[in-house]
């Protein structure tokens, strides 16, 4: 089932140059789409059109069975999880209040809000006593987990993530990526994830959308982008780095284990 569809969508900020040049894209339910490209390629614009944070000029956008313009924008946004790079946690609210924000603006009962906040905190693997803490007491990685939990509060079918792990250190980023994969596997929602990191796009995406200067150069599984690049740009952009990213999970780990074990055996012999 198609959840999101773009048809020949264009967007310009200054009236001259198009940031999106007639974009077509279909997203199916349960897909984990990574939007990959350099800064200024239009990937964030594409993402923010979906929840109406940015308007578009021509073309059609469908969310589920309705055209975007037919949606009540507030109602639509409440059904879409949204995580931005800077997280934007509310500093005057506790972690629990942050997570339950969408439920609170929908005037759901307090009990339900608390229960949901506790559930989600567990889902993102933070201890329950964090519920009463304030965002300023959290580390960068913990804040990002709370940001993810907050986006999941209303059980949204669609989740939009705009370079959410860009500002955390590599180790934390890896953990967060693993968790996103687990959460996606568990909840099976449709995720659109903007990144400029090839490895991240390859690791997370069930389908990668590679963008360049307002057009989609290729969409496909990570394997397709690496092994069957549609054109020269894709080949150059993905290149050996993408190949490495493909290898990494399976082979590199094996090779590494063998190498280390071999050494360990040598130690044992001596």
């Amino acid at each position: 089932m198609t959840v999101i569809e773009f048809q020949k969508v264009t967007k310009t900020y200054d009236g001259e140059e198009n940031v999106l040049k007639g974009l077509d894209l279909k997203v199916k339910k349960g897909e984990f789409i990574t939007l990959l490209g350099e800064s200024g390629c239009g990937k964030t614009t594409l993402l923010k059109i979906i929840n109406g944070m940015i308007s578009f000029d021509t073309g059609y956008v469908w969310i589920r069975d309705r055209m975007l313009s037919e949606w009540n924008i507030v109602e639509l946004r409440r059904q879409i999880g949204y995580v931005i790079q800077q997280i934007g946690l509310f500093p005057h609210m506790t972690v629990a209040e942050n997570i339950a924000y969408v439920l609170s603006i929908e005037k759901k009962p307090k009990k339900e809000q608390q229960k949901r906040a506790a559930e989600l905190l567990e889902l993102v693997e933070l201890p329950q006593d964090y519920l009463k803490r304030y965002p300023r007491e959290l580390s960068g990685g913990q804040k990002q987990r709370v940001g993810v939990a907050r986006a999941l509060a209303a059980s949204p079918e669609i989740i939009l993530m705009d370079e959410p792990f860009g500002a955390v250190d590599e180790r934390t980023r890896n953990q967060l990526q693993e968790e996103m994969l687990r959460i996606h596997h568990q909840l099976n929602n449709t995720i659109l994830f903007v990144t400029h990191d090839i490895q991240e796009a390859m690791k997370l995406g069930t389908r990668v959308v590679l963008m360049n200067e307002g057009v989609i150069e290729q969409t496909g599984t990570p394997e397709e982008l690496v092994l069957q690049p549609a054109n020269n740009f894709v080949r150059q952009f993905i290149g050996s780095k993408g190949y490495l990213a493909l290898l990494e999970p399976q082979m590199v780990e094996d090779i590494y284990q063998q190498a280390v074990e071999g050494k360990a055996q040598n130690y044992n012999h001596s």
Partner: protein, 224 residues
């Protein structure tokens, strides 16, 4: 001299209490109008940046007019009495209130408002749940400044027949009775100090409410 002032307070306590009540009443009226108007204008200004520039300039201009001159001008338009005094107090008090409301609101981190908007807040929810609480410390410090200023200016308002503690000062000056002038001035100062301390105390409590325990804690550790 000091003894004579104390003596004066004792002899004329009814007179001073009446003036004090009048003074508090006038201040209360002005502060209520300023708070309501200042908040409304400050919020409205964030929706219209051009209007914001104009309003800030107009209120800053009003602020620079010497109070005696403004009272004089108002007397010729709205006559002598409470009405003129209130108008003058309101015009002066608007600047700190408008400016702090506006600055407090526009200084809220845009990422926070983007997150709140993207999650489906209505404009009213965005304002009342996110922007106003986060701008509150700045707004409240403007409110405090305004209250203290209005109490002080209220002394001059009596000169155009609005009543209040200024009448004691005025009587002292016109009858060459310095004790009376000082007694009135001291009471105005005392009122301002008391109001400021009470507001400081309230500020701490509400800060804790809006910024969480941590917010208040940060402040106390800084003070300690």
């Amino acid at each position: 001299m000091i003894l004579r002032i104390i003596q004066l307070y004792r002899d004329r306590s009814d007179f001073f209490i009446e003036l004090l009540i009048q003074h508090i009443y006038i201040t209360f009226l002005a502060v209520s109008v300023i708070t309501f108007l200042g908040l409304a204008l400050g919020v409205f200004m964030t929706k219209n940046r051009r209007l914001a520039g104009i309003l800030l300039r107009v209120t800053s201009f009003l602020y620079t007019i010497p109070s005696i001159a403004l009272f004089g001008i108002l007397v010729s338009i709205t006559g002598i009495g409470l009405k003129s005094a209130l108008i003058a107090l309101i015009l002066y008090g608007l600047l700190p209130m408008i400016r702090n409301t506006y600055t407090g609101l526009i200084e809220v981190d845009p990422e926070i408002t983007e997150a709140a908007e993207g999650m489906g807040s209505t404009p009213a929810q965005l304002m009342f749940r996110i922007q106003l609480p986060l701008a509150f410390p700045v707004i409240f410090s403007g409110f405090r400044t305004m209250v203290v200023m209005t109490i002080a200016l209220g002394g001059i308002a009596s000169f155009i027949g609005a009543g209040g503690m200024g009448r004691a000062i005025w009587r002292g000056i016109s009858t060459n009775y310095p004790e009376m002038t000082i007694a009135g001035s001291l009471l105005i100062a005392a009122l301002a100090i008391v109001a400021d301390s009470v507001l400081e105390w309230i500020e701490k409590i509400v800060r804790t409410h809006y910024l969480g325990e941590g917010g208040a804690h940060e402040k106390t550790t800084k003070a300690a």
